[in-house]
C-alpha cells in the first residue's frame, strides 16, 4: 500500500452540464406552433410575479394577445402604451366556468410572454383551476344542496364553525343541505376561503312577461342593439343556462348600458325590477323601455319617493329602498324585492350599490341579477362583494376601443390651470382644514372668466358646466344667464330643462352633482368642470361620460377641467384623472393665459 504525502489541495468540482440558454427560451411544448420562432422582443406580454400582466400596445401581436388574455384575466387599466391585466382567483374561475383548462391558460400566457412565466403564477393557475368544480350548488326537488366529489373537502366544510350557520345538515353522501336564503352568503364565505362554488342551482324563472325589442322605436327610428351590446347580453345570458344569468357588464359611459339592460329583459321575458340612482334616471329608463320595447305604459311602474307603483317592470331608486325612519329600524321598502315574482333584477350604476342592498342581494341569489356600470371602482373596496353577490364581470371593453369604433364620441380632455388671486392666497395659506382649502381653491373667482371664455368659444355647442359648490354654480349661472339644476330643483323642472337642452332651446346648463350619473343628454358635447368631490376618480369618469354619447358629424366631445394651481385643487385633480388616464385618455394642460393662443380666439 502506498500513501501519498503532499500538501492538501482543495478540490474544485466543475462537471460539464448542458448549458441552458438565456432567459427567454420558452418551454416549447407549451407554446402553440404559430408563436414558435417569433422573436422574443416582439412578444407583447410580460407576466409579473404578483399576477399583473403588462400588455404592450401597438406591436404586431397586440390584438391577438389581448383577445387571449381577455378570456382569463381582467383588464385593470389601459393607458396609452401599456395595458394592465390581472390574474385573480375570480378571473381564473370565470375562465374555468367557460371550460378553459389550466394548460390552455398556461399555453396562452407562454405564447405571448416575453419572459418565462413566473413559477408561482403557473402554480397558482393550476391550483385555482383545480378548485373549480369541486364544489357545486345544485337543486334537487326543492332542496338546495352543496355537493363535492371530494369527501374530505365536504367534511371539512360541514365541520367548519364559520360555515355552520349556512348548512342545514347532510343531504346524502358528500352532500350538504343549504338554506335557500343562505345561498349567497355561503358562496361569499366559500370564496373568501378560496373555494369557488359552481352555482348550478338555477334561477327562479319569475312571472312571465312578453317583452321584445322593437325594430322601429315608438319615436319612429330604426333600432337594433349594437354588436358589443349584443355580445354583452349574450355573455350575461349564456343561452339561459345556469352558468349565466348573474353578473356585471362594464361599458364606458355613453355606450348604452341601458340598451344592454333592455336586451337582457328581452331574453329573460319575465317580471323585472330595475334599481337606479335617481328619479330622473327612473324616468329615463321608463322612456327607453316604452320607446324601444313592446311593453305598454301599464306594464311599467315607478317606485320612488313620490310614487309607489309596482308593475311587471318596476323601476326603483336606491334612495327609496335604503330609506328608513331611523337608524335602528328596518328598511320598509325592501318589501318591493318580494312584491312580485321577479325573474330579473337590474342594478344600474352597480358600483354605487349601497351596503344595505348588499344584504338583500344575498337573499336574492335565486333570481337573475345584472349589474351595469362604467366604473367598477368603490372607495370602500367592496368590489369583490359586488362580484360575489351580483355576479362576476361578464363583459368589459376598454373605452378607447369603443371610441375608435365610433360608438362613443372622441373626447379631448384639457386641464386649464389658473392662479389663485393674491387676495385669496393668504386666506388659503392660513386655512388648516384640507376641505376648506379645497373649497377656497375650487371656488377661485378667476374661474369665472375662463368659463365665460370657453362658453363663448363653444357658442354653437351644447355645454354643461358642472361643479360641486352651489354658491359657485349660482354665480356661474347668473353670469352665463343659464339655468341652474341642483338637488333642490324639483324633478319636474329638471326634466323640463333637460328636455329644453335636448331640443337645443337651452345651449348651456349649469348643474351640480345631480348630473353625475344616469342623466341622458346625448346632445351635450362640451363639459366644463369647475369643481368636484375631492379626488373621486369615479366622478371624473362619470362626468366625462355625460358627453360621450356619439354625435353626428365629427363625433367630437370636449372636456375641460379648471384647476387652481399649487393648491389642493391641483392635488385632487391629479388623483381624479387617474381612472381616465388609465383608460387611455390624455389630458392637455394649459395655462389660463395660454387659452387664447392654443384654442384660438373666441372672437374668431
Amino acid at each position: 500500500m502506498h500513501s501519498l504525502q503532499y500538501i492538501f489541495v482543495e478540490l474544485v468540482l466543475v462537471p460539464a452540464f448542458p448549458f441552458f440558454l438565456l432567459s427567454g427560451i420558452m418551454k416549447d411544448e407549451l407554446v402553440p406552433k404559430r408563436m414558435v420562432g417569433i422573436a422574443v422582443n416582439e412578444k407583447p406580454v410580460i407576466v409579473q410575479r404578483d399576477g399583473s400582466i403588462l400588455l404592450e400596445v401597438g406591436g404586431p401581436y397586440y390584438e391577438e394577445a389581448r383577445d387571449a388574455l381577455a378570456r382569463f384575466a381582467e383588464l385593470v387599466k389601459s393607458p396609452e402604451y401599456v395595458h394592465t391585466y390581472r390574474l385573480s382567483p375570480l378571473s381564473l374561475w370565470n375562465a374555468a366556468a367557460t371550460g378553459m383548462s389550466a394548460r390552455e391558460i398556461e399555453e396562452s400566457l407562454s405564447a405571448y410572454s416575453r419572459y418565462p412565466v413566473p413559477d408561482n403564477i403557473l402554480r397558482d393557475i393550476r391550483d385555482y383551476l383545480s378548485r373549480y368544480g369541486k364544489l357545486k350548488l345544485i337543486r334537487q326537488d326543492e332542496t338546495l344542496l352543496l355537493v363535492s366529489d371530494d369527501p374530505l373537502l365536504i367534511t371539512e366544510i360541514a365541520n367548519s364553525k364559520g360555515l355552520s350557520r349556512y348548512i342545514e345538515g347532510w343531504g346524502g353522501p358528500n352532500r350538504l343541505k343549504v338554506a335557500p336564503a343562505q345561498r349567497g352568503y355561503l358562496k361569499q364565505a366559500l370564496i373568501k376561503l378560496g373555494w369557488p362554488v359552481e352555482d348550478l342551482a338555477g334561477y327562479t324563472p319569475g312571472a312571465p312577461l312578453a317583452i321584445d325589442l322593437r325594430s322601429t322605436t315608438l319615436s319612429g327610428k330604426s333600432f337594433a342593439l349594437r354588436s358589443y351590446q349584443e355580445e354583452a347580453v349574450a355573455a350575461f345570458w349564456a343561452s339561459g343556462s345556469e352558468r349565466g344569468g348573474s353578473g356585471v357588464v362594464v361599458l364606458p359611459c355613453g355606450a348604452g348600458k341601458t340598451m344592454v339592460g333592455l336586451g337582457a329583459m328581452a331574453r329573460a321575458r319575465c317580471h323585472t325590477l330595475i334599481i337606479v340612482t335617481s328619479t330622473t334616471a327612473v324616468h329615463q329608463w321608463r322612456d327607453e323601455i316604452l320607446d324601444k320595447t313592446t311593453l305598454g305604459p301599464d306594464e311599467v311602474g315607478e317606485y320612488t319617493g313620490d310614487l309607489k307603483d309596482v308593475r311587471p317592470v318596476t323601476i326603483a331608486t336606491y334612495q327609496v329602498l335604503t330609506w328608513r325612519p331611523s337608524k335602528t329600524e328596518n328598511f320598509p321598502h325592501f318589501a318591493v324585492f318580494n312584491a312580485r315574482d321577479w325573474g330579473l333584477i337590474i342594478y344600474d350604476e352597480v358600483h354605487l350599490l349601497p351596503a344595505p342592498v348588499f344584504r338583500v342581494t344575498a337573499d336574492l341569489q335565486a333570481r337573475r341579477r345584472l349589474g351595469l356600470t362604467a366604473t367598477l371602482v368603490r372607495e370602500d373596496g367592496r368590489e369583490e362583494d359586488v362580484f360575489t353577490l351580483v355576479g362576476p364581470k361578464r363583459y368589459d371593453v376598454p373605452w378607447k376601443v369603443l371610441e375608435k369604433q365610433g360608438w362613443i364620441a372622441t373626447a379631448t380632455c384639457t386641464e386649464i390651470r389658473l392662479s389663485l388671486p393674491q387676495e385669496k392666497r393668504l386666506e388659503y395659506a392660513l386655512a388648516r382644514d384640507p376641505h376648506v382649502k379645497y373649497r377656497l381653491a375650487a371656488e377661485n373667482p378667476a374661474k369665472l372668466a375662463v368659463v365665460r371664455e370657453l362658453v363663448a368659444r363653444h357658442r354653437d355647442d351644447q355645454v354643461l358646466v358642472i361643479g360641486q359648490y352651489l354658491d359657485q354654480l349660482a354665480e356661474l349661472a347668473a353670469e352665463l344667464k343659464a339655468p341652474l339644476i341642483t338637488g333642490r330643483t324639483p324633478t319636474q323642472k329638471r326634466e323640463a330643462l333637460f328636455a329644453a337642452f335636448r331640443e337645443g332651446r337651452e345651449k348651456v346648463l349649469v348643474v351640480s352633482r345631480v348630473a353625475n350619473f344616469s342623466i341622458d343628454l346625448p346632445e351635450a358635447n362640451v363639459a366644463i368642470q369647475v369643481s368636484g368631490t375631492f379626488g373621486s376618480r369615479q366622478e371624473e369618469a362619470q362626468r366625462l361620460g355625460r358627453i360621450l354619447r356619439p354625435k353626428a358629424g365629427a363625433n367630437q366631445a370636449y372636456f375641460y377641467t379648471l384647476v387652481t394651481r399649487d393648491t389642493k385643487d391641483q392635488e385632487y385633480a391629479a388623483k381624479r384623472q387617474l381612472f381616465l388616464t388609465e383608460q387611455g385618455y390624455r389630458y392637455t394642460i394649459l395655462d389660463a393665459a395660454e387659452l387664447t393662443d392654443r384654442l384660438g380666439s373666441s372672437e374668431a
Binding site: 500500500m1 502506498h2 500513501s3 501519498l4 504525502q5 503532499y6 500538501i7 492538501f8 489541495v9 482543495e10 478540490l11 468540482l13 466543475v14 462537471p15 460539464a16 452540464f17 448542458p18 448549458f19 441552458f20 440558454l21 438565456l22 432567459s23 418551454k27 410580460i46 407576466v47 409579473q48 410575479r49 404578483d50 399583473s52 403588462l54 387599466k77 393607458p79 396609452e80 402604451y81 401599456v82 419572459y115 418565462p116 413566473p118 413559477d119 408561482n120 402554480r123 386641464e415 394651481r565 399649487d566 391629479a574 384623472q577 387617474l578 388616464t581 388609465e582 390624455r586 389630458y587 392637455t588 394642460i589
Partner: protein, 534 residues
C-alpha cells in the same frame, strides 16, 4: 484532483503493476511508469468501470467510501475520525475502520494526504467522488410523477439578484437606515425593505442570523465592494448608507456587474455556508428525467456517516435548503410525507458555473399616471439616475417606479439639478413623455428654490441719510446689492474687504471687520453722540 494527478505521485513500477492487476490490467513492469500510469488512469477514470467496481465492493468498504466522501460538510476527514466512525458503525462485523480504509487505499480508491496542520487526511479522486455522488443520488432518487410538478421551475435568475441589489442600494441612498448597537438593520426596517423583494423575505427569527439569506448576501456583497458604509449622525445614531463607490459601481455595464455578483454568489455559497448547500446541489444535479432527491431518506444517511460531532445534518441540511430555495436554485415538494428537492432550470445553470450574457436596454416607459416601467435589463447607470428621482412602487420582472413631487424634491435636496431630470427622461423614454407628466415636472422644477435662506452682509449706517448718501455714491455701487432697511445696505459678502477699504479711502471711518455684537457697536456710537451733545 483527478486520478492523473494522484497517480503522478506513484513512481514505483511494482506498485503500479499491482494496482493494474487489481483492476484487470496486465501492466508489464518493462513499460515505463508513465505508460503504466497512463493505462491505469484510463481504466480508473472510466466511470462505468469504476461504478461497477465500487458496487462489487463489500458493504463495509462502500460505507467507508461514503464516510470519506460525505462524513464532513467541508474538507476531507482526518484518518482518525474516519476510523472511529467506522469502528462504531461496523462493530458487529468485526472489521475495524483502519482495516477497511487500508483495503480501500490498497485498491487505489482512496489516498492519504496532510492538511496545513499536518493532520493525516483521507482524500478521494474526483472520479471516485462523482461515482459515489451518482450512487448516493440513485439511492435517494424519486422519479417525477403526479402530483409532483412535471416541469422544473425556472428558479434562479442573475437578473433578479442584480435587481434586488439595485433595490437595496437605491433604498439606502434614498434614506439611510438606522442600525442597532450591534450594527444590524432594525427588524422593522428590514421588513419594509424585504417586502419589496421578489419573492418577499422575512427577517430571520434566529438571533445568530440577523438577516435572511438574500439580504445577507446583499449586505455581504456591498460590504466587500465598499458600496455601503455606516456613519453616525450628530446625535450618535448609526446609519447605513451608500458610498461614492456605489455611484462608481453603478456606472459599470450590466454584464460586468452580473459577473461580479455571480462569482461572489458562487463563493458565498461555498464559504459562508460551507459546501453543504453545494454538496446538496451535486446529487440533485445528477438525477435525470426531472427526478427528485429525497431529503427525508438522505438526511439519516448523512447523519450516519458524519465523522464530525459538530456536523448535524438534521439541522444543517434544512438551513442549507432554505438558502438554496431562497435563491431559486432548488425547488421543494412533498409527497407521502417525504420532502423532495430538485434543481431548477436556473439552478442547473448556476451549477454549471456559466453566466448567460445579458442584452442591456437603454429605454424605459413613462405612463400618464406618473409610473415608470423599467425593464430589469436597463443599463445600471440609467437606472441609478432614474432611482434618484423616483419612488419604488413594485419590484418585479418589470420594475415600477413612480415620479411624484416629493420624489423629485428629494433628489433636488440631494443636489441633483432640476433641469437635468426632464432632459434625462426625454433621452431615455421609449415613447413620448405624456404631456401631463412634462407639465407637472416643469411646474415642480419651477417651484424648486422659490424660497431659500440667505445670510446677508449689511452695512449699518447710523442714520438713513448716511445710508442714502453711501448708496448714491457711484464709487460704492460695485459693492452694494440694494437696501435692506432705510439704515442698512446689503453688501456683496465676497468683496466686503475691498468695500471697507473704499469707504476708508473716501473719508468714511468704518468699524473694521464684521461687528458680531450689534448692541455693543451701537452703544459705543450712542455714547459718542451723548458726549457730543454735552
Amino acid at each position: 484532483m483527478k486520478y492523473q494527478e494522484f497517480l503522478a505521485h506513484i513512481g514505483d513500477s511494482q506498485t503500479l503493476s499491482y494496482l493494474g492487476r487489481l483492476h484487470g490490467l496486465d501492466l508489464s513492469p518493462r513499460q515505463s511508469p508513465a505508460r503504466m500510469r497512463e493505462q491505469l488512469c484510463a481504466r480508473l477514470a472510466d466511470p462505468t468501470y469504476l461504478e461497477s467496481y465500487i458496487r462489487e465492493l463489500p458493504e463495509v468498504e462502500q460505507m467507508g467510501l461514503m464516510v470519506t466522501a460525505f462524513g464532513r460538510k467541508d474538507l476531507f476527514p482526518t484518518t482518525e475520525s474516519v476510523h472511529n466512525r467506522l469502528n462504531e458503525l461496523c462493530k458487529k462485523t468485526g472489521r475495524t475502520g483502519g482495516r477497511i480504509m487500508a483495503s480501500l487505499v490498497s485498491r487505489g480508491l482512496v489516498f492519504t494526504s496532510r492538511d496545513s496542520s499536518y493532520r493525516s487526511l483521507y482524500v478521494l479522486p474526483d472520479e471516485v467522488f462523482w461515482v459515489l455522488l451518482r450512487l448516493l443520488a440513485q439511492r435517494h432518487a424519486v422519479p417525477n410523477q403526479p402530483p409532483l410538478p412535471q416541469e422544473p421551475a425556472f428558479g434562479f435568475d442573475i437578473l433578479s439578484v442584480l435587481n434586488e441589489l439595485f433595490l437595496f442600494l437605491g433604498w439606502l441612498r434614498r434614506e439611510p437606515v438606522r442600525l442597532t448597537q450591534a450594527g444590524y438593520i432594525y427588524r422593522r426596517e428590514q421588513q419594509r425593505l424585504l417586502s419589496y423583494f421578489n419573492p418577499p423575505e422575512e427577517p430571520d427569527a434566529e438571533q445568530e442570523k440577523p438577516y435572511p439569506p438574500r439580504l445577507r448576501f446583499l449586505v455581504s456583497f456591498c460590504d466587500t465592494y465598499e458600496l455601503i458604509a455606516p456613519f453616525a449622525d450628530s446625535a450618535g445614531n448609526t446609519y447605513l448608507g451608500t458610498t461614492p463607490e456605489a455611484d462608481k459601481w453603478m456606472q459599470k455595464s450590466l454584464n460586468r456587474q452580473a459577473k461580479e455578483v455571480f462569482e461572489y454568489l458562487y463563493d458565498h455559497l461555498q464559504y459562508l455556508h460551507g459546501p453543504l448547500p453545494w454538496m446538496l446541489l451535486l446529487p440533485a444535479s445528477v438525477i435525470s428525467d426531472k427526478g427528485w432527491l429525497n431529503l427525508t431518506t438522505l438526511i439519516p444517511s448523512l447523519t450516519e456517516w458524519a465523522v464530525d460531532p459538530w456536523y448535524l445534518p438534521e439541522r444543517e441540511v434544512p438551513q442549507a435548503i432554505k438558502w438554496l430555495t431562497s435563491f431559486g436554485l432548488v425547488e421543494k415538494a412533498y409527497i407521502n410525507g417525504q420532502q423532495l428537492i430538485r434543481l431548477t432550470v436556473g439552478g442547473k445553470r448556476f451549477r454549471s458555473g456559466l453566466l448567460p450574457a445579458i442584452k442591456q436596454d437603454t429605454k424605459f416607459l413613462v405612463q400618464p399616471n406618473y409610473e415608470v416601467l423599467v425593464p430589469q435589463e436597463l443599463k445600471p447607470k440609467i437606472r441609478w439616475n432614474l432611482e434618484a428621482y423616483t419612488d419604488l412602487v413594485k419590484n418585479d420582472r418589470v420594475v415600477v417606479l413612480k415620479i411624484s413631487e416629493q420624489s423629485v424634491y428629494r433628489a433636488f435636496k440631494r443636489g441633483f439639478h432640476p433641469d437635468e431630470f426632464l432632459t434625462f427622461l426625454e433621452k431615455h423614454v421609449r415613447t413620448p413623455l405624456p404631456e401631463n407628466v412634462v407639465y407637472s415636472l416643469r411646474d415642480w422644477c419651477d417651484r424648486y428654490g422659490a424660497v431659500y435662506l440667505e445670510q446677508p452682509l449689511l452695512l449699518a449706517c447710523r442714520t438713513p441719510e448716511l445710508a442714502s448718501e453711501i448708496a448714491a455714491d457711484p464709487r460704492f455701487k460695485p459693492y452694494l446689492r440694494g437696501e435692506f432697511t432705510p439704515r442698512h445696505l446689503r453688501v456683496d459678502p465676497d468683496r466686503y474687504m475691498e468695500f471697507l477699504a473704499a469707504l476708508e479711502a473716501a473719508g468714511y471711518r468704518p468699524r473694521p471687520g464684521i461687528a458680531r455684537d450689534k448692541a455693543a457697536a451701537e452703544a459705543k456710537g450712542r455714547l459718542r453722540d451723548a458726549e457730543k451733545e454735552e
